[in-house]
């Protein structure tokens, strides 16, 4: 997949209906549920063995960058908008982009000691913010900060459109650094709130997909 260069302000990138996004073709990525056996605690494994994990089966992905910021637009069908914590058993829809903070970080295991995976995590109960997360193995995710990653999510007519964006060149330890004109791996995860999906209970895109970041000023969408 390509992250096409677009001369656009951040606000325009965060608006999933803006002209740069409309000009951009999407790619459908199939999602699979995380295996129950890979859940980080015995209680979670016991609760989910034999149950369906990963209610969302595919997501349409687009990527743009403006030289400073890389943005992903995720679009998926979800007849049920779960955007609030209404009760103890209510969970919000959520989405995340994963990137390798070092070249050989294993995605399926959410990183490994010394090989962190960097996640940009958005949740529907806080639709206009996101968390910057690092993980070095299953069950080790921790928040780096809550202001570096920008996001905006809109649910309309049975579909979520969520843009998750971050400056490419950040110096936070554990954060992936992205260079225009190079390739990076990426992954997508979607949590379906109405199915009580949270934490490692999610649909994900499997191993790293390749994202080619166009050089800045390379043409592409205007």
């Amino acid at each position: 997949m390509r992250a096409v260069y677009a001369s656009a302000e951040l606000d325009s990138l965060l608006d999933s209906e803006s002209a740069p996004w409309r000009a951009q073709a999407s790619e459908s990525i199939q999602l699979i549920g995380t295996p129950a056996g890979l859940q980080p605690t015995e209680a979670i494994r016991a609760s989910y063995t034999g149950k369906v994990i990963g209610a969302t089966t595919s997501v349409r992905v687009r990527a743009l960058h403006n030289g400073d910021v890389l943005a992903f637009r995720l679009e998926w069908e979800d007849p049920h908008e779960d955007n609030a914590l209404l009760d103890n058993d209510s969970f919000p829809d959520a989405a995340a982009i994963a990137l390798p903070a070092v070249a050989d970080a294993p995605l399926v295991l959410m990183g490994a000691p010394g090989k962190p995976v960097n996640a940009w995590y958005w949740r529907a109960d806080e639709p206009n913010s996101a968390r910057h997360v690092t993980a070095e193995g299953l069950g080790t995710s921790r928040t780096l900060d809550v202001d570096v990653v920008k996001a905006r999510g809109v649910w309309k007519e049975g579909r979520w459109n969520v843009v998750i964006a971050r400056a490419m060149n950040v110096t936070v330890p554990g954060a992936a650094r992205i260079t225009p004109g190079s390739d990076t791996g990426f992954g997508v995860a979607i949590w379906e709130g109405s199915h009580k999906e949270r934490a490692g209970i999610k649909a994900f895109s499997g191993d790293w997909k390749v994202l080619t970041i166009d050089p800045t000023h390379a043409g592409g969408a205007a």
Partner: protein, 342 residues
């Protein structure tokens, strides 16, 4: 998880609990008054037999079966009893005099945190009930801690108190599913799980838990499990009369109960049958396991000794002649301490 060096524990004598809820209110006033905590009662007192709080918690799974984690249910706010809204403003400040009465606002509740109070069980003349106060058991093998994928639940290495680290908690609520006693609450405003903290800020200052210190019935003993000169050790390990609730849940609770004795049952002719308690032993076994038999036998023996004018260390302990001695050294007066909210 490494074992704690020491373990704080509590013993509650069910023979003395009058169900007054002073413990409940002491806890509520101190710890659960912030936004999102309205429905929380870290301390509850329910009538047994009964469905309890949250409703039917004993049938909600969680804990361990043969040492293996058992899936559990996530209790809703409604099942906990929720927080009812009242027309307080109207009654107290509305200027309507006697025309306004206190009424629940909104949907009429179908359950509450103490809904089946004093209903109990049995058939007249052998009807019976007793009160069961509950807090977090600060288990030695905490199912909540082991279930959390973020290691956000911590068991203090020095004193064994189990707490939620709200900086690490992301509100996933696997702990609520895993706790077989259903003593963890979700705060929708703070988006984190919250629970009884065994009053650790008081404990750190040498002050006993609010629920224990405020109890007018002298029901609750507090202290370290291994303090051989204090009541907890004597009641749990020496006399073995204080036993855990639902030991079969496999979490090794550190709250122990002195089981309730009851008057003798009436037989079919209306005569007192000294061989049977008003509370069926099968019911007590269902709560406390077979150990309840030895506990009750010891209690009866020692009560008899005491009645006969003999000295009984156990009965003297349970009477709690000296209130401060119930608290295993945590007997400072909280009014003498300058509390700072950090």
């Amino acid at each position: 998880m490494e074992a704690s060096k020491r373990q704080l524990a509590m013993v509650m004598d069910l023979n003395k609990c009058i169900g007054c809820q002073t413990c409940t209110i002491a806890c509520k006033r101190l710890w659960t008054r912030d936004e999102g905590m309205e429905y929380m009662w870290w301390n509850t007192v329910n009538t047994q037999p009964g469905r309890g709080t949250p409703r039917d918690w004993e049938m909600s799974g969680g804990g361990f079966e043969n040492g293996v984690a058992k899936p559990g249910k996530l209790p809703t706010r409604g099942e906990f009893g929720d927080a009812w809204e009242y027309n307080h403003k109207d009654v107290f400040y509305g200027g309507k005099g006697k025309k306004a009465h206190l009424e629940i606002q909104g949907t009429k509740p179908e359950w509450g945190p103490n809904w089946d109070e004093d209903q109990g069980g049995g058939e007249y003349p052998n009807s019976y009930y007793f009160y069961l106060p509950r807090i977090c058991n600060h288990c030695t093998h905490p199912a909540c801690l082991e279930a959390c994928p973020r290691k956000a639940i911590e068991k203090n290495a020095e004193n064994g108190i189990v707490t939620v680290n709200e900086d690490s908690c992301r509100g996933y609520r696997f702990c609520m599913e895993a706790c077989p006693y259903k003593k963890i609450y979700f705060n929708q405003a703070a988006k984190v799980s919250q629970k009884c903290i065994f009053c650790f800020p008081r404990i750190e200052q040498g002050v006993a838990n609010a629920c224990a210190r405020q109890c007018p019935g002298r029901v609750r003993f507090v202290g370290y499990r291994d303090d051989v000169n204090a009541p907890i050790y004597k009641l749990v390990d020496k006399w073995k009369v204080a036993i855990p609730l639902h030991p079969e849940y496999g979490t090794e609770p550190n709250v122990f109960y002195v089981p309730p004795l009851a008057p003798a049952a009436f037989d079919e002719n209306g005569e007192i049958d000294e061989s049977r308690s008003r509370i069926p032993i099968e019911y007590l076994e269902s709560l406390f396991g077979p150990a309840v038999n030895d506990s009750l036998a010891t209690l009866k023996t020692e009560m008899e000794k005491s009645r006969n004018g003999e000295k009984s260390e156990l009965i003297d302990l349970l009477i709690a002649y000296k209130w401060k001695e119930m608290f295993g050294g945590f007997d400072k007066d909280p009014a003498t301490i300058e509390w700072v909210k950090s």
